[in-house]
Symmetry: C2
Subunit: 330 residues, 2 copies
DNA sequence: GTTGGCACTCGGTAGCATCGAGTGCCAACG
DNA sequence: CGTTGGCACTCGATGCTACCGAGTGCCAAC
C-alpha cells in the first residue's frame, strides 16, 4: 500500500502524536529512529500522506496528526505486539493471586486491564441460557411470593422472584420444583420455556408463573466496567468524558458495541469504526476469551484514539487468554 | 445565630451562586426577593458575613461565594424541603412501574435519583449475615470443587465456590449439606462460622472448607452507583471529575463514606465534612431506608457543593422512603 | 530524487489599554 | 444611629498589537 519510507514516516507521526498529544512536525519525524531522510523530504512525503488521507493538518503551519485511516494503517501493519516485562509480570501475579467468585474475578479483571492501559476496561460475561441445569429449587418467601433458584453447571446461580398470584404451601412449591427438575436437569436453562404443564392444577399454577419469570432472568449478558477514572484522565474535554461515561453506563449499549466489533472480526475499532458518534475520539480494543475452546465472552478497553496501541493490544490479548485459561481450569 | 437580614442575604448569595456558578455581587443580592435594603447596606452586611466566615471573596472586586460554613447554615435553616410536582410524579411512576429482582431495582433507583438531581447516585444494600437461612445446598462442580448455595429469608441467594482439597462424591456433599442445614436453617448466615464439626471425617473435610469459604462471602455490603455522567457534567475541572470517579469506583470507600455520614446523624455532608480530601468540592446528601421498621440501607447522591440542596434533600428523602415501603411489601 | 534555503503562515504569548462589575469608605439623610 | 447614595479604587476579563517560532510549501542546487 505505502512504500517503506512513507510507512515509517506515518509510523513516526502516529507514535509522536500518541506520546505528546501535539501535532508532529517534519523536524521531529526526521529525527525519529527509522527515518533517515531530511526534513524537507519528510515534508514532501507528509504532503502526499495528507492528500492520501492518512494525515491531517489542524491548520496551516502546524504539524500533522493521524486520521482514522492513518491509525488504521498503523495498527494493521503493527508487528505482533509483545507485552513489556512489567505488565506481563503484573498479569501473571494477578491470575496467581485471584481466587473466589467469578463475578468478583471479572470485576477485578477490569481493574487490572484499566491499570495496564490507562483506559476504561470492560468484561462481558455471556448469559447462561445454554448452560445445563444442575439443581432446581423453589423457596417460599411470602404467602404468594416464591424464589426460583437454579444452579447451573458452569457454577452460576440464577434466581427469579415469582409472584404466584395464588397462595401456595410448601408441598405445592416442592411438587412444582420436582416437576421442573425432571424436565430441566441436564438441559439448558432456556428449556424452561418449554417445560410441559404439570398435571395437578395448583402445581401447574406455580410452574406457569415460574416459566414466565424465569425465562427473562437468564438471558442477558453481564457487563463489568472498571477504570472510568483513568479513562477520564485521557481526555481534556469534559463533554467527551461525559458522553463516554453515559455510554459505559448503559450495559446494553456496551454489549452490542463489543459484539458488533467482534462480529466484524476486528480487534481494534478506531473512532467512527465503533459506529457510535459519541465515541468519535475513542478507540476500542477487544479480544474474545474462550473457556474449554468455546468463545464465551469478551474483554476490551475503551480509550482515546491516540492510545498506546501496541501496549493495549498486547495487554488485552494476554489478559483475555489468561482469563480463558483460568476459567477453564475451575 | 444570624439576624434575619443577614440570613436572607446569605440565602440570596447561596441561591445565586448555585444558579449561576458565578460570585454574587451586592447588586444582585439587593434585587433578590426577600431583601429590601440597598446594595450599600448589603455590602456592609456581606463584609460582616465574610469576617464571620460565611462568605468568601475569590479576589477583591469580585462578588462573594458561600464557604462551607455558609452552605451549612443555608442547609440547616432550610424550611422542610418539598418536592416539585414533576419529580414527585416521576418517583411515583417509577415505583409503580418497577418490578423484578431487587438488584435490578436498586440499580434502577440510582438512575432515578441521578436523573432527579443531576448528580451521581448511590444505593447501599447491607450484607446478609444476619438474615436467617432458608435452605442450604452444596453442588459439585468438578471433582474437588463445589458450590455452596444458601437461600436466605430476605430472598437473597448467597453462593461461594469451595475448593475441597480432596475429591468428594455426591453422597458426601449431600451429607455435608444436611449437616450444615441442621445447624443453619432458621439462623443467621453468620452462624456458619460456628457450625460444629461433622462426625464423619470425609464429611467434616467438606464442611470445614465451606465454613472457610462461606463466611467471607456474605459479609460485605453491595453498592450500586449510577449517573456518573450527570455528575461529570456538574464540574468543569477534569481533575475533579477524575478524583470523584475513582472514589465512586471503590465500593469499600463509598460504603464507609456513607456509613460515616449517616452515623453522624447528618443528611448532608458538605465539602470537607465528607472527611475525604478529594471531595472538597462535593456534597453528599443521604437518607437511610427502612424495611419493616428496621434501617437496612442507605440511598444518597454525590454532587458539587453548589448543588440544588432543597431539591436534592427532598428527592433523596422521598426516594429513600418509597424504596423502603416498596421493599417492605414484598 | 534529495536536500538546504527561504519566504510565508498562523497559533501562542506577552504587553498594554480599556471596560465594567464589584468593593470599601464616607458623608449626608431621615 | 442605621441606612443610603456617591465615589474612588481594584482587578479580572476582553480586545488589540507586536512578536516569536514551529512548521509549511516551493525552488534551485546538488
Amino acid at each position: 500500500m505505502l512504500d517503506e519510507r512513507k510507512a515509517s514516516i506515518l509510523r513516526a507521526v502516529v507514535e509522536g502524536y500518541i506520546e505528546t498529544a501535539q501535532p508532529v512536525g517534519s523536524g521531529h519525524v526526521a529525527n525519529a529512529p527509522g527515518v533517515t531522510v531530511s526534513s524537507a523530504t519528510v515534508r514532501n512525503e507528509m504532503a502526499a500522506l495528507e492528500s492520501d488521507g492518512y494525515l491531517a493538518q489542524p491548520h496551516t503551519s502546524a504539524g500533522r496528526i493521524p486520521t482514522e485511516k492513518g491509525y488504521r494503517y498503523f495498527v494493521d501493519t503493527l508487528s505482533e505486539p509483545v507485552l513489556d516485562r512489567a505488565s506481563a509480570q503484573q498479569i501473571r501475579a494477578f491470575f496467581d493471586r485471584t481466587h473466589g467468585e467469578i463475578e468478583e474475578m471479572l470485576a477485578a479483571t477490569t481493574r487490572l486491564l484499566s491499570g495496564l492501559t490507562n483506559s476504561a476496561a470492560v468484561v462481558v460475561r455471556p448469559g447462561h441460557e445454554s448452560s445445563p441445569v444442575r439443581t432446581v429449587q423453589i423457596v417460599g418467601l411470602a404467602p404468594s411470593t416464591a424464589l426460583f433458584v437454579a444452579v447451573l453447571a458452569d457454577g452460576s446461580v440464577e434466581k427469579a422472584t415469582v409472584e404466584l398470584l395464588v397462595e401456595a404451601d410448601e408441598a405445592v412449591l416442592e411438587a412444582a420444583a420436582r416437576h421442573l427438575a425432571t424436565h430441566l436437569t441436564g438441559r439448558p436453562l432456556a428449556t424452561l420455556a418449554q417445560v410441559p404443564p404439570a398435571l395437578e392444577t395448583t402445581v401447574e399454577a406455580v410452574v406457569a408463573r415460574v416459566r414466565l419469570a424465569g425465562v427473562s432472568a437468564s438471558a442477558d449478558e453481564q457487563v463489568f466496567v472498571g477504570g472510568a477514572a483513568s479513562m477520564a484522565a485521557s481526555f481534556e474535554a469534559v463533554h467527551t468524558i461525559r458522553s463516554v461515561l453515559s455510554i459505559l453506563e448503559e450495559q446494553l449499549v456496551v454489549v452490542s458495541l463489543l459484539r458488533d466489533v467482534v462480529d466484524r472480526g476486528l480487534s481494534v475499532a478506531i473512532g467512527s469504526e465503533t459506529g457510535m458518534q459519541p465515541l468519535a475520539e475513542c478507540s476500542l480494543v477487544v479480544a474474545p476469551y474462550t473457556v474449554d475452546g468455546e468463545q464465551v465472552g469478551t474483554v476490551g478497553i475503551l480509550g482515546p484514539t491516540r492510545m498506546n496501541y501496541p501496549q493495549a493490544l498486547a495487554a488485552v490479548a494476554v489478559v483475555g487468554q489468561r482469563l480463558g485459561h483460568r476459567l477453564s481450569e475451575g
